[in-house]
């Protein structure tokens, strides 16, 4: 690791089975891009790989390897969603993002890093699973590949500054009118892997009595100031703010690619529609 970039961490698909101790799953912010990166180099889809945020780092390879770069275009000057060889001594240099918020670098065989509670994912806020990478860190490449590298992906996701997030009703949907679906919101600079803060027309908060309850990934919670927060991969496990809606699973990857000042709208879909959209997304992964 010659330069770490803005925030570079090891991620897989997350740590499951610990929320009753207050530890959320964490995992890749754009799991779709991470899974694609792994599948393209012939890894299992949940192999540990690198996640970069907003600006990427510089990496020197001390041996021959096969890599894939997926997610947003961080100006590495190499084809995206394509597995390719790198030679010993070669340097891979990323710059600032040109479209989305996150880029992934997978290595054939996976990163050989310690697992904590069954996952290699770094939970940045708590330090579970390790810490963000620093200059001088050396990462070992594993041998956990399962098939040959695949041909370049087609129909890859597009990262755009205006996003429509599809949602299903949240547990307190009846407390709110349809205001959430009228305006558009800007992604705040204060967003991180714990939550994506939005700025826009304040939602009338009915302020009813609510007992703290469990909160799922993608929950849209409305604090007293009426500015919605979308709970993200490192979210708290319980919360006391009402939730009018929840982002659908098929759009979680979009949350990981939203940049500060991007524009967001919300669109309602049915529960059945949400599941159907998730199935379609899986079809694309099977094509890799």
């Amino acid at each position: 690791m010659i330069a770490p970039g803005f925030l570079t961490t090891v991620q897989d698909l997350g740590r499951f089975g610990w929320t009753h101790f207050g530890i959320s799953a964490s995992g890749a912010a754009d799991a779709l891009a991470l899974r694609a990166a792994n599948l393209l180099v012939g890894n299992a889809e949940n192999a540990p790989a690198l996640e970069m945020t907003l600006a990427g780092g510089e990496f020197q390879f001390e041996g021959d390897a096969v890599v894939a770069l997926t997610g947003a275009d961080f100006g590495a000057g190499l084809p995206l969603f394509t597995s390719m060889p790198v030679r010993s001594g070669q340097t891979l240099r990323y710059g600032p993002s040109r479209n989305g918020a996150r880029a992934y670098l997978s290595v054939r065989g996976g990163l050989d890093v310690p697992m904590v509670m069954g996952s290699a994912s770094v939970h940045v806020m708590t330090g579970v699973g390790g810490r963000p990478l620093r200059k001088g860190d050396v990462l070992a490449i594993g041998e956990a590949h399962v098939r040959r590298p695949r041909p370049p992906a087609r129909n890859v996701p597009q990262y755009v500054p205006r996003t429509a997030l599809r949602v299903t009703p949240g547990p307190q949907a009846a407390w709110f009118g349809g205001d959430l679906y009228l305006g558009s919101y800007a992604v705040s600079e204060e967003s991180n892997r714990m939550g994506i803060r939005l700025k826009g027309p304040a939602l009338a908060n009915p302020g009813g009595h609510m007992i703290t309850e469990g909160v799922p990934l993608g929950a849209i919670q409305v604090p007293p100031d009426g500015q919605p927060i979308v709970l993200f991969v490192e979210h708290q496990t319980t919360g006391g703010y009402p939730k009018p809606a929840n982002v659908i699973s098929a759009d979680f990857w979009r949350l990981g690619q939203m940049r500060p000042r991007d524009e967001v709208r919300f669109e309602r879909v049915t529960m059945e529609g949400a599941i159907e959209l998730l199935r379609e997304q899986e079809e694309w992964l099977y094509s890799l």
Partner: protein, 214 residues
């Protein structure tokens, strides 16, 4: 009991709207019986409810609901695990508990009396949540209830013992927080390098022991 969808991959199982020992026992039993079941990925217990995250590739909402109902029914009579009592040493006041004077002012007691009342009570860990092993404690003497700060602190030191409205809690990691800090414990509730179970678990009984005043 009610079960309703919270998202396209979760159900909220609720045992009523009132915080009570009975509801807590049902939450505890639900976590015990649903943990590790195929297709169920995560459980988020709270005062009177459990959020169940399921794998949408294995289960739809109807199947998940039937699975949960069947398991909870089968374990309806399960005995709770044996109680554990955990003593937590606390250094009260001073730099360790900067809000102790505010709590004294709000409740009308002297700081010494606040400490006395606080350490004479027995607490129960209703659930562990928020971020990383934060124990939500019931059992605070009602006369010690003190509202949260109007603006949360950016940095609450690890081990801070705090009052938030009618609840008490301990900060397992340094984090932002809006509860009133009355002391600090040297007990480490969370070690990021260690695999839980954490020191304090749901259902544990807790006693605070004064280590002297800072």
């Amino acid at each position: 009991m009610t079960i309703r969808a919270a998202s396209d991959r979760s159900l909220l199982v609720s045992f009523g709207e009132a915080i009570s020992w009975g509801a807590h026992q049902r939450v505890r039993r639900a976590v015990q019986s649903l943990h590790g079941v195929r297709g169920i990925l995560n459980l988020h217990p709270a005062y009177t409810s459990v959020l169940v995250d399921f794998d949408p590739h294995l289960l739809d909402h109807g199947q998940a609901e039937r699975l949960i109902s069947r398991i909870l029914e089968a374990h309806r009579e399960d005995a709770a695990p044996p109680d554990r009592v955990v003593e937590v040493p606390v250094s009260f006041g001073g730099e360790a508990g900067p809000d102790l004077p505010d709590v004294a002012r709000h409740t009308g007691f002297s700081a010494e009396r606040v400490i006395e009342l606080f350490t004479h009570a027995e607490y129960v860990v209703y659930f562990v949540g928020f971020s990383t092993c934060f124990p939500y404690l019931g059992g605070l003497p009602p006369e010690l209830a003190t509202p949260r700060l109007s603006a949360p602190r950016k940095h609450v030191p690890v081990g801070s013992v705090a009052i938030g409205g009618p609840q008490a809690g301990i900060y397992p990691i340094a984090s932002p927080g809006g509860w009133r800090l009355i002391g600090r414990t040297s007990m480490r509730l969370f070690d990021p390098a260690a695999t839980p179970p954490p020191v304090l678990r749901m259902g544990d009984r807790v006693r605070f022991v004064a280590e002297g005043r800072a």
